[in-house]
């Protein structure tokens, strides 16, 4: 739509801008991340915005623990990571987020597919969906810029409504076709 474009034809809002806006609309104030090139611009936006408390723990498991604790004490949070980081999480999800019914939000940038150059990344990527499915965790890959707002907003709402963790996967179809 013309109204969604800048004069140079680029979108008025990047996927990162939209994610930040939707997090705020849902009162998600805490972000804990282990960095990744794809989510780097989102991390910059979060750090620059005083609305958010942003932590950068050493491991993704730590981030899940922090967000789980914060939720139980009344503060909503999200974990940001890449696919290989998600692969370190099955035990924390299986023994904390899932059985205690804690809505840990996760945003995962998907590496290992659609142009990956590291075999290890490609292999670990194939573990992500089977793990999510085995744990019964709601997940959805966002592939289009015009899906970002709806998917992120609805997944966050569902996570809190159903007391369940949720994984929002950032597909290269989104992040490489529409770089932030």
């Amino acid at each position: 739509m013309a109204s969604d474009m800048k004069d140079d034809g680029t979108p008025a809002e990047t996927w990162c801008d939209i994610v930040v806006r939707v997090l705020k609309a849902n009162e998600v104030r805490l972000a804990a991340y282990v960095p990744d090139n794809v989510i780097a611009p989102l991390i910059r936006l979060l750090h620059a915005d005083p609305y958010f408390t942003v932590l950068h723990p050493a491991r993704e498991e730590e981030a899940v623990g922090i967000v789980a604790g914060a939720y139980m004490a009344g503060l909503r949070g999200i974990v940001l990571m890449q696919t290989s980081g998600f692969a370190t999480l099955p035990n924390a999800l299986a023994s904390l987020a899932v059985p205690y019914q804690i809505p840990v939000l996760m945003m995962i940038s998907e590496r290992g597919t659609l142009g990956e150059f590291q075999l290890g990344q490609a292999v670990v990527c194939r573990t992500m969906r089977p793990v999510l499915e085995t744990l019964g965790i709601e997940h959805f890959a966002i592939t289009r810029l015009d899906e970002v707002e709806f998917v992120v907003d609805r997944m966050i709402r569902q996570a809190y409504s159903t007391q369940a963790p949720a994984a929002m996967i950032l597909s290269p179809l989104l992040t490489k076709r529409h770089p932030a």
């Binding site: 491991r59 730590e62 981030a63 623990g65 922090i66 004490a73 503060l75 035990n91 023994s95």
Partner: protein, 204 residues
């Protein structure tokens, strides 16, 4: 160390004490609805056995995450003091968390580590603290300046009192014996979570 009124002491100089006894001593000092996160295994079993306060959270897995969970609670409720009770084996799994706490400068957070030098619950296999690792040295290296070995029971209580009245983060390491915990936590995760959230005033 000037901080505690006692000289700096290493792990070897600390008295070997009893986890159940010290857990009860710590809980007895909690007068302001402080939150306590009990790490997986004997740390939370003894917390359970010390009386089931609604502000207690009992971990039934996710070894090593007591400190991150406590940090999350402390971030969310800055006016409430929060304690993480963790075993040496658990803490060794997630040493980076000490740096995360230090970087956050979380004033209302205290970490207590029960160091018996063993994976007691799986058959008393040795942990690295029985070899070369000094957890107070690691905590200080991670940036937690207020880190001490509890020299004896009175010193432990004095350190807890400091955690309750002064700005943290604070790290208290305790050498403990091989006695079994005084009870076993009821294993119902959803109930544990709900009671904890009620205890923290998040849900009615």
């Amino acid at each position: 160390m000037a901080d505690t009124g006692l000289p700096a002491r290493g792990r070897e100089a600390a008295k070997v004490m009893n986890r159940s006894d010290l857990t009860r001593r710590l809980v007895a000092r909690l007068k302001a609805n402080e939150a306590v996160i009990g790490g997986v295994g004997n740390s939370n079993f003894d917390l359970w056995a010390s009386g089931q306060r609604p502000e207690n959270f009992y971990m039934l897995g996710s070894m090593g995450l007591a400190v991150p969970i406590a940090l999350g609670v402390a971030l969310a409720q800055a006016r409430r003091r929060v304690f993480a009770l963790e075993g040496d084996g658990s803490l060794l799994m997630q040493l980076g968390a000490l740096g995360t706490v230090a970087a956050a400068g979380q004033k209302n957070l205290a970490i207590v580590v029960w160091d018996n030098g063993m994976y007691q619950i799986t058959g008393a296999q040795r942990t690295l603290t029985s070899e070369t690792v000094d957890l107070v040295a690691i905590a200080k290296g991670a940036g937690l300046a207020q880190s001490d070995w509890a020299a004896d029971e009175a010193h432990f209580e004095a350190l807890v009192e400091r955690a309750l009245t002064e700005d943290g983060p604070r790290f208290i390491a305790v050498r403990t014996d091989d006695q079994k915990p005084a009870g076993t936590t009821e294993r119902d995760p959803a109930k544990i979570r709900l009671r904890f959230m009620q205890g923290l005033g998040v849900v009615g």
